[in-house]
Symmetry: C2
Subunit: 262 residues, 2 copies
């Protein structure tokens, strides 16, 4: 692993790369997950590597939806487990959601390692190791879910999800909350609430929001959800990205530093 | 490795992912290279996954520069070796350039493997294994170069380069041609000719161009180089990316335009 100086202008981004790379070595994240992480990095440059107002709005609505859900589940994959394990566990406790591991490149071994990883951050009863149901209309390993988890959930939070499964969950009649930095992805287009933000910012934002909203009256939470317009939110996000290009935000994000960002 | 159906709308992109992942397992590409590949993928979505007219223009000028150079060198890293080994060897022969392996995450072992990999495609005398010079003002392993290669080159083609080294090569007085899909990167801003294109398209384009230009009079090649304006070219590329966002090109690139719910 490369040692990154704390004063490096790209310290956080480079540290995350090292961490997710370490998680590949630990068998938690797949190699393809590294490519996905890179795609996220590039789109985060466009967004300016900060939570947009539209993202904060979506994060609040998402928390309201999780708090009012009867059987909320947080679906965790290799990248989420690598980037936000502590936050996922804390958020699950705050909104009383179950955690289920579901992988695109599924292996029993990797699910066990992710379960272990999350448990080392205090997670309890992580599901996914013994799937006993299948998501209808979805081929591949991702269809395997547990009856007491994703299968019977009324609301599912899917950070860094793939479009097919997001669509299949929506088709099952579940409320789907996505965290996907790409506002153009099928996941973002298919989800009921699409959080266009980096998962490392989205989860802490949602924890903060959950701490504020957990004592709010259900009727007020339902009103918040009612007021949230996902399509409008996504459109505003795309407009913001275009503004970023005009302002050369991507250029700034490259941190024209003495040190290389690659 | 996952088997990808030939009829998959994203077949080429997914195959490249499998190939570069395979090259990590083979010790040719670094894990960090996978993240860089992902960044490239996302920006390629913005560009529309095709060579823009501005890229074709830069590729022609680059070939003219390589053909008129006295000591041209093509610098190869792990990602380039994974994505375009055959093309690099063919281009090097066409423009009579030396090939030198230079890595950000340098290990003797990886350089040897890349050399071997390129030789399996017919490369001869690949440099980089025994560096005997150093690029001034550049810390880290990337500074190590060979006297008969990059150090004494008058023109260097650097596909998928990092900003610092590109800057250092320019500071050495060399003509630098970059292939970098990010028009905002330091590399793109520092190079004399910045090819904003995916390396898997840029190299074949340059081979085609070299076959056309190799019998062109030097004076005409020099005129071509003279006429090329890098900053103007980059600006036009950024404008094209913005047009792409307006047209929802990134959305289409996800391979589901018919499915779009907007």
């Amino acid at each position: 692993m490369t040692e990154i100086p704390k004063n490096h202008p790209r310290y956080e981004s480079l540290s995350l790369r090292e961490e997710i790379t370490r998680c590949v070595e630990a068998g938690i994240t797949s190699r393809q997950g590294l490519i996905a992480h890179g795609r996220g990095e590039a789109i985060d440059y466009l967004i300016g590597e900060k939570s947009l107002p539209t993202a904060l709005e979506a994060e609040d609505a998402a928390v309201a939806l999780l708090l009012t859900a009867e059987r909320p589940v947080i679906s965790v994959n290799g990248n989420t487990a690598a980037l936000a394990p502590k936050g996922i566990v804390e958020l699950a406790e705050l909104v009383d959601a179950k955690i289920e591991v579901n992988l695109f490149h599924r292996t029993e071994e990797r699910i066990a390692k992710i379960k272990e990883h999350l448990e080392s951050y205090g997670a309890r009863g992580v599901l996914g190791l013994e799937p006993n149901e299948v998501i209808p209309g979805l081929s591949s390993e991702r269809a395997k879910v547990s009856r007491e988890g994703i299968f019977s959930a009324d609301t599912v939070l899917v950070p860094l999800e793939d479009g097919d499964r997001c669509e299949a969950l929506v088709a099952m009649g579940k409320k789907v909350i996505a965290i996907d930095i790409n506002p153009f992805s099928r996941t973002s287009r298919m989800a009921h609430i699409s959080i266009v933000d980096n998962v490392i910012r989205a989860i802490p934002n949602m924890i903060k929001s959950a701490n504020e909203l957990k004592y709010t009256r259900v009727i007020d939470l339902l009103f918040m959800i009612e007021c949230f317009e996902n399509k409008k939110n996504l459109k505003s996000t795309v407009e913001e990205i275009k503004r970023g290009l005009d302002e050369g935000r991507l250029e700034e994000s490259q941190g024209y530093s003495k040190l290389s960002i690659w």
